[in-house]
């Protein structure tokens, strides 16, 4: 990640004064299937070179989180519904669910204070897909009726 570059000024973001940033939340999003376990984290820690992850130990940097793409979509669905992105991450990382799956936290943490919401764009895309198939089928049925 580019955390040190951003915090030290080597990298910038448009119209953002990075000196005002008090907390940095690093999140890795994986397209693949991941079930977070103690063993998996141990494996990851043993596989990653410490020099490439030194930025994760800086003062302002919050605990690294790993999400699956479905978790990322759900997280953004919650943001779209009006929940605070950083409040969600703060809840997730401040308790015993820090090293657990996002979905497990959503399901099992009684104090998470967040609700699971699907992104509206995903709902729209599904409706479009269904309409396409139905339209194709209706056309066939109309043709069959005409033939009769």
């Amino acid at each position: 990640m580019c955390i040190s570059a951003l915090l030290d000024g080597a990298a910038t973001l448009p119209d953002v004064d990075l000196t005002t940033i008090k907390r940095v939340w690093p999140v890795v999003v994986s397209l693949g299937h991941i079930t977070q376990t103690h063993n998996l984290w141990a494996y990851l820690r043993s596989a990653i070179k410490s020099e490439t992850t030194i930025a994760l130990g800086r003062d302002r940097v919050q605990p690294l989180q790993v999400l699956r793409i479905i978790d990322y979509e759900r997280l953004m669905g919650m943001v779209e519904a009006g929940q605070s992105l950083t409040a969600i991450l703060e809840h997730k990382t401040s308790g015993p669910f820090r090293g657990r799956d996002f979905a497990s936290w959503l399901r099992d943490d009684p104090i998470r204070g967040a609700s699971d919401t699907r992104l509206s764009t995903i709902e729209h895309r599904w409706e479009e897909m269904s309409d396409e198939v139905l339209a194709r089928r209706h056309l066939t049925e109309q043709r069959a009726s005409a033939d009769e």
Binding site: C2, T20, I21, R23, V27, S30, L31, I70, G77
Partner: protein
Amino acid sequence: MPGHKHGRSRKRQKSRPKRRSGDTPVAGALPSELDQMWVVASEVDLGRAQTSLADLREMATRLPFEPAALNVAALQARLDPILTNQARHWELAQAFFAGCDDLLPGLETFLSEGPMHVIFSPQALMLLTRVLIADARTASQRQLTDIEMRLLQDAVFGAHSAMEPFLSEPPSFGVEELRENPLELDLLAYELQAATFFDHPPMLDEIARHREFRRLATSDARLFDSADRVPVDEWLRDACGGVTADEQWAVGFGLVAITQLPPDPIFPHVPAENVRDMLERLQLPGITPELQMLSASRGDYQLAFDGFGGGAEAMAWETRPFKAKPFLRMANDDLLLLAPPWLLSWVGEGFHYRALTHAQSLSSGLSAKYTRFVGKVVETYALDIATTATNPSDAAVHGEQRYGPGGGARTTDVAIIDGNDLVLFEIHA
């Protein structure tokens, strides 16, 4: 390095259960992956002799292929929607093991011993399917005889224990240990695969996501000038014998509707005449009803599994041929959905894997180019979602920014500035 020391780890199948009503977490207990693990019944639990993989393969030689495969596929289909429902497992066990008076009382006792105890594992049934493909005797569709049914019942239960010899030594999961002992890679693969068997991503989200990936890859102007752009739709068409990507999607969705939509229980057997009717209704008369793009004969599967290698240990986790071809094409051209997740994979992530496999067949350079392009597609998708979800008055969203000498380094794929907080998302495709 923490080991895998859970008392009954050999029988645990990782899953993603919903906590049932009345199932209150223990106060003060830390959540762990054990909360996601369901304990599957094994022969040892019931005081029976343990079936080895060799035993299972020998049993398969006495089973007729198509009738046995039909029964296992039907069991997979009925199990799929009730994976973590203990009561429904018992109902299914009573139906499938009907007449097994030496087995059912033990299973009932086993279920009563713990709220996380279940009977069937989809991974064990996949293993049995794989063994049937390899070893069952040739036979077309018909009813099983009583003797054959009893043998199949024993094989189904035995399949749940057949991998245990490979799991008797718990893995440490350290990198060095894995390098030194390749068998532990098999165990890690088995554990990860076990988790995916119980991980049912919502169909709506999966299909919608992969459809959007294809739209971005083929018709989104922001990626037209990408140096890594490749003709994805052309490759998808070539990968499926001239069937376009849109037609693939329509056929896949149609088969989802035939085999999986309520109110009917999932029924995996699709007679050839039903396939012809579906193609007619979808206005796809040019597609042959054998649907070779998503079906394989027994011989096709044997060749595909042989091609991937991995030996006997891989029998419990090698799923790629099933994901590439979720339907068994039987002797009379009827189709049999071997397990519902394979079809979901075909209409979802399958588009990516079909394009990737085609790229690999062309050249390693094109394969690498495609992989880089997919990375850009997924990054664009993630940025779009963040932009859509975020209210500009509350937070700012940025894609990756170049920095460093010559602009050779890049910031994360998505950055969200929320007050004095900066959230950095790195997308790993």
